[in-house]
Structures are given as structure tokens and as C-alpha cells.
């Protein structure tokens, strides 16, 4: 599994398509994105990471930047998203952060 992360609208999906050499349509079967949203209210992040790692490519948007939210639920969601990304990076053969459309190899 290749884990792709990066800021919002940084070109993560476009990079995934380039990597796999596939169309927008095909990407739906080969990759999963917005993984950070699935971390919210998830009871077992390890298990979720295992499930997601079955895809060729897993994409998650970084959401831990900016001001720490006042709302406890939002804070918890951010924490969970961050931890999920760490678990995905551990399971990945390769980790890439896309920034302004430019990929940087992290692992």
C-alpha cells in the first residue's frame, strides 16, 4: 500500500492517478481517500488501518494544522485523524506527502 497525505486540495488524488496510471473512474476501485473522515468516532483505529491497507493507495488529508479547535468533538476527531495517519504510514511500503502538487517521499 502507498499512503499519500498532504494539505487540502494539494493534488493528492491527481498524484495517485499519475502513480497508478489510471482514470478518475478507476481510482475509485484502487484507492480510498478522505481516510481522515473515517477516523472520527472509530472504536478501533488499528483495525481501520488494517482494512484500509488492503487498497493499493490510501489518501488522507492533513487536518492537524491551524488553531486547536475549541469544540471537544472536533479536537478528538483531529487527534483520531492524526493517529490514523501514523498507523497507515507504518503499514505502507511507501509514504508520500503532496504539497502544491509536488510529491515528497517521506518513506
Amino acid at each position: 500500500m502507498i499512503f499519500i497525505t498532504g494539505p487540502l486540495y494539494s493534488g493528492k488524488k491527481e498524484y495517485a492517478r499519475r502513480l497508478l496510471g489510471c482514470s478518475r473512474e478507476e481510482l475509485k476501485d484502487r484507492a480510498v481517500w478522505d481516510a481522515q473522515d473515517q477516523a472520527k468516532d472509530c472504536a478501533d483505529l488499528n483495525n481501520l488501518a488494517d482494512e484500509l491497507a488492503r487498497y493499493e493507495v490510501v489518501i488522507a488529508t492533513e487536518v492537524g494544522g491551524g488553531v486547536v479547535p475549541v469544540d471537544p468533538a472536533e479536537r478528538a476527531a483531529r487527534e483520531a485523524a492524526g493517529r490514523l495517519s501514523v498507523l497507515l504510514a507504518q503499514r505502507a511500503q511507501r509514504v508520500v506527502r503532496v504539497f502544491c502538487g509536488l510529491p515528497m517521499e517521506l518513506k
Partner: protein
């Protein structure tokens, strides 16, 4: 040489970008000022920055919208700061393009115009994309525009870096 410097609030991106300009041998130094002062506080802020940059021998060129209209008198080094202001002006100011697509082409096209008129360009952009995506619709437009501009400029640039705690991380090219 075109360098795109991106960073979050108070990341040290401006100081780093200014340092790159001071390293360039090409004179004169131009500072493209994009913040439109709306009140007394804004005017004082602009005046303070203008004095600081005058000491470093920058010539200030004001440009709030329509970057393509800028004409430089000589081929020198340009500091464009910052893209966040320019994007907001193009999107929300009465003289701006008004739409995400229009603003994107106004800014990307404007950068091409600057590149044709100078030896070195350092543009400063903003990292505002890792605080989640739960925003009102208007903010979403602004974020999409900023991301579009960042990606378009990153493609044109010789060097792209993100400044974190005053330290640059290069995604493209690198300083010699």
C-alpha cells in the same frame, strides 16, 4: 530564477523570502505590496513596512488587483508578498476578478508578466490547508483559489519551499 516560498502564519516565511531577495545580485529590488489599507491601523502598518524595506533599498510598487498591469522600470529582483492578500482582493474587492477561475488566471497570468520583466522573483504564499475543511462556502472558494494558485505557481517555479519555524523545506530545487 523564480522561488515560491510558502508557510503558515508567523512561520518566518517573510524573513526567509526577504533573505533570498537580498542574496540576489540583481538590482533594483522591488516589493510588490498587495495589502490595501482600509483604516488608520492598516495605513500605519503599511507605512512601517515601507520604511523597513526602504532601509533595505526596496522600491515599493502597490498592486491590489490585476497583477498583469505592473510595469517595472528595470530588470531586477521582485518580492511578491503575499498571494493570500492578492487572492482575497481578486475574489472580494470591487476591482477584482470576482470568481475563482478569473482570480486564478489573473494571479497566474500576473506572475508570468512579472517573470518577463525581472531576473529573480520570490513569491510568498500561505499554508492554510491543514486546519480541516469544515468551513462556510465562501471560505471554501478562497481555499480552492489559494490552492489553485499555489499549484500553478509551484509548476512554474524553479524552487519551491515550505518554511516551518523559519526553516525551509524544499519540495523542488534547492538553494546552492
Amino acid at each position: 530564477m523564480f522561488t515560491l516560498v510558502i508557510g503558515g502564519a508567523a512561520s518566518g516565511k517573510s524573513e526567509y523570502a526577504e533573505g533570498l531577495v537580498l542574496l540576489s545580485p540583481h538590482r533594483p529590488r522591488y516589493y510588490i505590496a498587495t495589502m490595501e489599507p482600509f483604516d488608520e491601523e492598516g495605513r500605519r502598518r503599511v507605512e512601517k513596512h515601507r520604511r523597513m524595506r526602504a532601509a533595505k533599498e526596496f522600491e515599493t510598487v502597490e498592486c491590489y488587483t490585476n497583477l498583469s498591469s505592473v510595469r517595472l522600470s528595470a530588470r531586477g529582483t521582485v518580492l511578491l508578498e503575499c498571494i493570500g492578500n492578492l487572492a482575497a482582493n481578486e475574489l472580494y474587492s470591487p476591482s477584482g476578478a470576482g470568481t475563482v477561475e478569473g482570480a486564478l488566471s489573473a494571479i497566474a497570468g500576473g506572475v508570468d508578466t512579472l517573470l518577463a520583466q525581472c531576473e529573480d522573483l520570490v513569491a510568498v504564499g500561505n499554508e492554510v490547508f491543514t486546519g480541516g475543511s469544515d468551513y462556510a462556502a465562501g471560505t471554501e472558494d478562497y481555499l480552492r483559489l489559494m490552492a489553485g494558485v499555489n499549484r500553478a505557481l509551484a509548476q512554474k517555479a524553479d524552487r519551491v519551499c515550505e518554511v516551518v519555524c523559519g526553516l525551509p523545506r524544499y519540495y523542488k530545487g534547492a538553494v546552492e
